[in-house]
């Protein structure tokens, strides 16, 4: 199964990875404004195209017998390309919408949606909540389902923690650690101490696994 993360205009003012001045379309000399990440069984491949070639690429992909600008003739299952996010994140959306979406970042690990699209890898468990709206159609497309029905951890979440959020309360440590580092670099030691104490509090709440685990064993 091949999934595509559709790209967007690489505006000059955007922060993070910029590519507008350096990257040309793989099919012609025009600037590449669509950056498409093909995700196939965990393997990532990028395709960079101008708007015109991007439209052709996506139409061909959905049509079933399109070419493959990146690696001509090298990829299996060509007909499936472009199926992933072409609806929800597709050409129909304005460049402006996509640029805004791309700038959104995770409160915990700080990864931007743009970085995720380029790497095909999420930054931390909280991304599933942070980018829920964007990931839902992608996940539905990959798996044909959006609900887990398999095994679940036997260990209960700590008292007072909403079980509906899974282990997200523990993942909050990632954001606190980042905040602590930033506070230290700004020499704001009061804030750093608060973050450190918050981390310890969460760790203490989630830690007694040895006991909890044994009781559940």
């Amino acid at each position: 199964m091949i999934q595509s993360f559709l790209g967007t205009v690489c505006a000059g003012e955007r922060t993070g990875r910029t590519c507008g001045d350096a990257m040309k379309c793989q099919q012609c000399d025009n600037p590449a404004v669509f950056h498409i990440t093909e995700l196939e069984a965990g393997n990532v491949r990028e395709v960079h195209l101008c708007e015109e070639h991007a439209r052709v690429y996506l139409n061909q992909s959905e049509g079933g017998d399109g070419g493959d600008p990146g690696e001509p003739g090298a990829v299996e299952g060509k007909g499936q390309k472009g199926g992933g996010l072409s609806g929800p994140l597709g050409v129909g959306q304005t460049a402006e919408d996509l640029a805004i979406l791309d700038k959104r970042c995770c409160d915990m690990c700080g990864i931007t949606f743009f970085e995720f699209r380029n790497q095909g890898r999420l930054g931390c468990p909280h991304d599933y909540l942070q980018f829920e709206k964007e990931l839902d159609p992608l996940i539905a497309n990959i798996h044909g389902a959006t609900e887990h029905t398999g095994r679940r951890p036997s260990r209960p979440v700590p008292a007072g923690v909403d079980a509906g959020s899974g282990t997200d309360g523990l993942t909050a440590i990632i954001g606190l650690r980042r905040g602590m580092k930033e506070a230290i670099s700004r020499e704001d030691y009061e804030l750093a101490k608060e973050a450190r104490d918050a981390i310890r509090g969460i760790e203490d709440a989630w830690t007694p696994p040895a006991k909890a685990g044994e009781e559940n064993a």
Partner: protein, 358 residues
């Protein structure tokens, strides 16, 4: 060093025993897991990776495998040793090529492997010789449960186990079998079979390969989706299709013997002849010829070669294995060394006339 002792064995997946091992080389189940309190590996700092490794490594001693697990610090291995582990299917290519703190714990039978800091914090793998998916699944469940008693895996009630790549989210399970399908290749039915597998959401890959090119007619069949079905259902999805593929391959082998015996006998005998006499030979050609000889042995067309010998050569003629086995002589090329190793291996065998006596 422990890796050198491994050179003398052929590992679980080539042991050549277990149900239907004439066609099913091995059955494998792997689980992708992450610790909730650290960023995924690609976003992790060096400190995060070191902490993740420390936390998970601390649990390995408690893992109930029934045998001692050895921990190998992959981050400090020489490149040849990393490639050696990849060839033995104990670590992935991605794990071998990654940066930073990472390691793998393996048991002496090479059935269980726990990769730390691969694409996910933890990749647990259980591999059994022959067709034994349910056995591998039962074993990996116990390992997973034991680790989960001591750590908090990233989990969400709706999406299940959270993984770095959304293609693994949910169960995080990949169920696969490695099949040897030479007769389906020779009779040109293999593409048709693969198209049918794709239609039912199963993926096909070649041995060692990420792409569609298979080395030596060895193919890995695995589930593509990991969410929306239980682990048991996903194991069963792959388990259900294997007997069908075995049946196709057996029928194709019967057809070859019945309808084209002289031709197929000629093919395997030539393959055997080249392996015994070549002066220089590539890895790809070796795999291809060993595949044909393996089929010849199973069809009774070659009488003086043991199946276990062929399985052993499949791994020992791989580049890193060969380099470790040869030692010293850095001047000669891999292909010359491979041919020399094969000639030496077959030297003690009977004359070619006996091989074609059937």
């Amino acid at each position: 060093m422990r890796l050198d002792t491994l050179t003398n064995s052929i590992g679980e997946w080539l042991r050549g025993t277990g149900p239907d091992s004439d066609i099913v080389m091995s059955s494998r189940v792997r689980l992708a897991r992450n610790l909730a309190q650290f960023p995924f590996v690609s976003r992790a700092t060096e400190q995060d990776r070191a902490d993740t490794e420390r936390v998970l490594r601390g649990q390995i001693a408690a893992v109930p495998v029934g045998r001692e697990l050895d921990y190998i610090d992959v981050g400090h291995l020489e490149e040849i040793d990393r490639r050696f582990l990849v060839e033995r299917q104990l670590i992935s290519r991605e794990h071998a090529d990654a940066q930073g703190a990472r390691g793998v714990a393996i048991d002496r039978l090479e059935q269980v492997s726990l990769m730390i800091n691969e694409e996910d914090h933890l990749r647990i793998q259980c591999m059994h010789s022959g067709l034994d998916l349910h056995g591998a699944w039962e074993q990996i469940k116990v390992v997973d449960d034991q680790i989960e008693r001591a750590v908090s895996y990233a989990f969400h009630p709706r999406w299940g186990y959270l993984t770095a790549c959304p293609t693994n989210v949910g169960t995080g399970i990949r169920v696969s079998v490695m099949l040897h399908l030479p007769a389906l290749v020779i009779t040109r039915q293999i593409d048709k079979v693969f198209r049918s597998l794709h239609k039912i959401s199963l993926a096909v890959r070649g041995l060692y390969g990420e792409g569609s090119q298979a080395m030596g007619d060895f193919y890995q069949i695995s589930n593509q989706t990991t969410l929306g079905r239980t682990e048991d259902e996903l194991v069963q999805q792959v388990a259900d299709v294997v007997p069908v593929l075995i049946d196709y391959e057996r029928r194709a082998r019967d057809f070859l013997v019945r309808e084209t015996q002289q031709n197929v006998h000629d093919q395997v005998s030539r393959a055997y002849g080249i392996l015994r006499t070549a002066q220089t030979i590539s890895n790809e050609e070796t795999m291809q010829l060993l595949s044909r000889v393996r089929m010849g042995v199973l069809l009774g067309l070659i009488g003086d070669v043991k199946l276990s010998d062929i399985n052993s050569l499949l791994i020992r003629t791989q580049p890193a294995h060969l380099q470790k086995l040869r030692g010293g002589d850095e001047d000669s090329s891999d292909d010359i060394e491979r041919a020399r190793y094969l000639r030496h291996h077959f030297e003690g065998g009977d004359s070619p006339s006996r091989a074609t006596a059937n």
